[in-house]
Amino acid sequence: MSASLEKGINVLKEQVDSTVAAFFSSCVHCGMCTDACLFYTETGDPSKTPILKAEPLRRIWKSEYTLSGRIAKLFGLGKKVDEKLLTDWETLVYDSCTLCGRCSMVCPVGNDITLLIRKTREGMAAAGHAPEGLIAATKRSVTIGSPMGVKLPALQAQIRHVEKDTGLTIPVDVEGADYMLLLSSMEIMHFPEFIGAVAKIFNKAGVTWTLSSEAFEATNSGIQIGVSDIAAELVQRTVDAAEKLKVKTVISPECGHAYMAIRWDGPNLVGKSFNFKVRHILEVLDELRQQGRLKTSSMDTQKLTYHDPCQISRRGGVINEPRNLIGMFAENFVEMSDRGKMNWCCGAGGGVSSNERADEIRLKVFQRKKDQLDEIKPDAIISACSNCRLHLEEGLEEYGMDIPLLSLTEILAEHLED
């Protein structure tokens, strides 16, 4: 056995806990998770069955943590995890799963299949079976501080542009501010208007906030590729900056997995509870709305819909907040048929967009979102994740549809009372 395979197997063993054992023990091979997965519904390929994607982890659980599996192993029986299995499974685990979590909502025995696939990734990555694109993004995150290689001067340049455009000051490294805002590299490079929108809203609401020059990156390639050590290191950078600036709350921006990383996985990765709160930008805005600190003056008459980013809605718990906020300015808001916790993924989450090998399939499975949009024919789509937004734009273009994508924070800022 090669050293990397052995490492992968050991990491898979570490992933097994009572949830994993209960889930694998309960699967009855009913196939309902398959119907819940856009990588199956849009390809018709049964190998995309969600529970099968966790097969390497299942084999380790069976052979190491069950009586019957251990007895079988004694006699040299039972299915093994080998180099070939991991090679065959790499594209299933990384290219054909966005960790969207829809299968976990549908499984009749209650298996959190997404958690099993997420844990399988830990073993795959340790055994050296992660996609090149994700490995490169992860390396850049560790060495440069951003998966896209965005450095502080690039952020500073964007800040200068935003300050010029808005006439507002973008606070950086302000000690004792209430909020510390994180940004995704995508927002810095593609959607700097987001920074201006936050500045405008916070200025109106009288909120003290800051960016940190030492930890402005919200994304976390470690949780996408499945290397907890790296994920923890990246979370720790944010924790150190938040403690240094003594902020009360860290804000996760419009990015799905970033929220998962800092809000739900973060404290568990670094092994201690945070001494500050973590909130998604939409939660912060909705709180300001509740306190009456946000007032809109104009209404939008377009037919608008909301695309739920999986890690923010289904996996993150921020489902009502965006709808409350949209209600402040949208006259003609229409929901898609499956929404909120049952939404369909755009097809590019969970590291799929960083993995060039998956470019073809992610555009193919976009058909699911296209069908949903065809049903309601909106004038514009609101979302709260830059990754969804970029991929939705690309998908719409690919399928010849002309529907603009809007950031909820940005459109809210536009409708604020002057």
């Binding site: 806990d17 009572s18 949830t19 994993v20 054992a21 209960a22 889930f23 023990s25 309960s26 699967c27 009855v28 091979h29 009913c30 196939g31 309902m32 398959t34 119907d35 819940a36 199956y40 519904t41 049964p46 190998s47 069955t49 099968l52 943590y65 069950t66 009586l67 976990s104 909502m105 549908v106 499984c107 009749p108 025995v109 209650g110 298996n111 959190d112 958690l115 809000r263 739900w264 996985d265 973060g266 404290p267 568990n268 092994g271 201690k272 509870s273 945070f274 709160k277 973590v278 809605s313 289904r314 996996r315 993150g316 718990g317 921020v318 489902i319 048929s337 499956d338 916790k341 049952m342």
Partner: protein
Amino acid sequence: MNEIDFLNWVRGPGFQIAVIIFVAGIIIRLVEILMLGRKPNLAEAKGSAMRSGLRTIFSRSIPEKSTFKRSTFVIVTGFIFHIGLLITIFFFTPHILLFKDVSGLSWPALPTPIVDAVTVVTIIALFLVLAHRMSNTVLRFLTNYEDILVWLVTILPLITGYFAFHRVGATAPTLLALHILSVELLLVLFPFTKLMHAFTIVLARWYNGAISGYRGVQS
């Protein structure tokens, strides 16, 4: 061994062995799952893990609308044969007498003709389940030998029970002995196959609901 000896063995030692393996097996399986434990969640909660976990144990029995539309056949046949098994196992007079004998507990039975009809419906549903498993691309891809074995040991007690009740094909003692033997086969395999989901489903649904509920989403 004549047919009376055979019947006496399956009712006596055979049954005891099967029940011991069934009970011990289930305890071993549940202990080996629970002993693995879970790390505490250090993130600040947004909702109640316990309330959501408890709720999901029940709510997962009712599929959400779009899921029902996509997996109608599996859900409908699944409901029919599960309810059928519940009725035939627990609401048939002779079975209730057996449970009373073993545990002292007793409850009202359903009229025998109803149980008889339910048996037929359940057998038909299970054959449909198998036909679907073999003809559906996804299910055929998913199916392994354990799935077939479990299907077989589930339907055998229904078929042997039906024959024993109607006394078709052999003498009454032989038919009854075969019925009891088929149940023993089911009991012995139960803890070591996917049949175990009857127990672990509570854990799986609880964990799913708790993980999701902690983040403020009712799963």
